[in-house]
């Protein structure tokens, strides 16, 4: 069964559009998206796969390998959902192109050809890589208050693009749109603007569309994920959490649902929490498309797992675009070891003292660089709550240093506690990882040009 495509062109549509949330972050589950693709009768399936760090990490991978830099799970996701999406006429939109949308588009065409989906139209959106513009314009870095040129040179600069290029790609008939850094809600705003022909400056409509995108962009967080508490907020069949979809009308009203038989819950409480997630001022939610105002939003429960959202508005979009700057951030080395039973907390503290003293004396890693956490004794609350008398404690020592070799010393000093440290230390582990630091700046919108390139998948 295939859903009807819009008639003579973009903007002709009157029937509601169904948007499904395929992922809420780079490492998200694949099976809920497959369920939506197969049973959801979707018009669009959207995979949001980027955070600030994911984009910068993609650029770091691309520096080492020119063919890399896109989301490592892209192939798995596409193989899993493209056959069903093709069968049901569902268009896929994703920012999984990350730091290399062109290579991601190439991969997508290969996957489509392998799957026998010749003719699948793959649109690649570029223009978010603004390193050259940032070097030329030299804007102020938020975190330092200094121009970009005053600090270490960034290895990447990714502008948050809005929905414009997605609308252009869909207007050209794309079946799959792959972008780099596009703002999360804009991935949902694009299809709505395309389907209903909304103007790019109809800010109340864009405010409503941005509300829909914001509620869907974290996928399972709308249906009981990051919400469940077995006492205060029980969620049925959490292991089989269904991802949400929204039915959006031509005037931007949205009703949210999830598939019958999937786990989770969708109600005014899950929606209320997600509305405010990472929103510091509900009256000014800034995206490249609009300054949305969520302060008057209300939710109403229409039925089981069915919620209507209303009350969002919008104002003129910002003149400048936010840019994420990626920097080499050195290395982080860490080590962990557990202590349990009587005096476990003093033994863990003794262990921390031993490691800290030796890191300073032998490895040039001063106490100011070392982060000591006593997991199980208040570490998560950053020392704000009393440690109490825990039954077991896991010591974690971490330090950010300049070289990989020095980072390895942290884990080794913790592991050496096995034979040289306090009694009863067990389960020691060490790890080393290259780090990226991320900062932000603004760039005038006119310096950023998004482009769309469309190519079809060949015969397999």
């Amino acid at each position: 069964m295939s859903r009807q495509r819009p008639g003579p062109g973009p903007g002709a549509r009157q029937a509601p559009v169904r948007l499904g949330a395929g992922s809420g972050f780079a490492g998200d589950r694949v099976d809920p998206a497959v369920d939506l693709a197969e049973r959801g009768e979707l018009d669009y399936l959207v995979f949001e796969c980027l955070g600030e760090r994911t984009v910068a990490a993609g650029h770091a991978r691309r520096l080492r390998d020119a063919a890399a830099g896109y989301d490592p799970m892209l192939e798995e996701r596409l193989r899993a959902v493209l056959p069903a999406c093709r069968a049901h006429g569902t268009t896929v939109v994703t920012n999984a192109g990350a730091a290399n949308p062109e290579a991601a588009g190439e991969l997508a065409r290969q996957v489509a050809a392998d799957l026998g989906l010749a003719g699948l139209r793959v649109a690649v959106v570029t223009g978010d890589d603004v390193l050259a513009q940032v070097r030329a314009a030299d804007p102020l870095v938020w975190e330092t208050g200094q121009p970009v040129s005053a600090g270490d040179p960034p290895v990447s600069a990714s502008a948050y693009l809005g929905a414009d290029a997605i609308v252009a790609a869909l207007d050209q008939g794309a079946d799959l749109v792959i972008t780099g850094r596009v703002a999360d809600p804009s991935l949902y705003v694009g299809p709505l603007r395309h389907e209903f022909g909304w103007a790019a400056d109809d800010y109340d409509l864009l405010g409503r569309a941005t509300l829909t995108g914001h509620l869907l962009e974290c996928a399972g967080q709308l249906t009981g994920g990051y919400f469940a508490d077995p006492v205060t907020k029980p969620v049925p069949r959490l292991a089989w959490l269904g991802f949400p979809f929204a039915d959006v009308t031509a005037d931007g009203d949205a009703t949210f649902g999830k598939l019958a038989g999937s786990g989770g819950r969708l109600d005014v409480r899950t929606c209320g929490e997600q509305l405010l997630y990472e929103v510091d001022d509900p009256s000014a939610y800034l995206t490249p498309d609009v300054v949305a105002d969520f302060s008057g939003v209300t939710f109403s429960q229409l039925g089981a797992d069915q919620v209507r959202a209303a009350g969002a508005t919008g104002r003129s979009r910002p003149r400048e675009l936010k840019v994420t700057l990626g920097y080499q951030g050195g290395w982080v080395g860490e080590g962990q070891i557990s202590y349990a039973g009587p005096r476990c907390l003093p033994r863990a503290r003794l262990a921390a003292d031993v490691v800290t003293e030796r890191l300073a004396a032998l490895h040039g890693i001063g106490p100011g660089q070392v982060d000591v956490e006593l997991i199980g004794a208040g570490a998560a609350f950053r020392g704000l709550a009393a440690a109490g008398d825990p039954r077991e404690v896991r010591l974690r020592v971490a330090a950010r240093v300049a070289t990989e070799e020095r980072a390895q010393a942290v884990g080794r000093e913790v592991e050496a506690l096995y034979t040289n440290g306090p009694a009863g230390g067990g389960g020691a582990r060490g790890a080393v990882a290259a780090q990226l630091a991320v900062r932000s700046c603004l760039l005038p919108r006119e310096l950023v040009t998004a482009r769309v390139v469309m190519r079809e998948a060949a015969c397999g």
Partner: protein, 116 residues
């Protein structure tokens, strides 16, 4: 009476800034939270970790309160070496805050309210 007796909370991060949303489990508790759960009280609960003015926004249509706590997350998820760089666990620290004022009727700690 703790916030946990009346409300849910969700944590989000923006760089080094912690954002906490507080939603009463029952709309009857909204006036009490609105009156007593001030930006100043929340700022004190997070103590020396806060590096700037704590702000509070009201969202009466839900209803809910949103707090913005600058500096609590240090360098944030990319700059801090803390295990939970996002500060996702910190919503439950807010739930431990003792609220001033008389106990509100109709509450039981941790109770799931009746469906609407």
């Amino acid at each position: 009476m703790r916030v946990d007796d009346l409300a849910d909370a969700r944590a989000g991060d923006k760089g080094g800034t912690l954002i906490l949303a507080v939603l009463p489990r029952d709309a009857r508790h909204w006036p009490h939270l609105r009156e007593h759960l001030t930006a100043e009280l929340v700022g004190r609960h997070f103590g020396p970790a806060v590096a700037g003015p704590v702000t509070r926004h009201e969202v009466p249509g839900l209803p809910a309160l949103v707090f913005r706590l600058p500096g609590v997350l240090g360098g944030g998820v990319t700059g801090s070496t803390a295990l939970d760089g996002h500060g996702k666990t910190l919503s439950y620290h807010l739930l431990t805050l003792e609220l001033p004022g008389d106990a509100v009727s109709g509450t039981a700690p941790g109770r799931e309210p009746e469906p609407a």
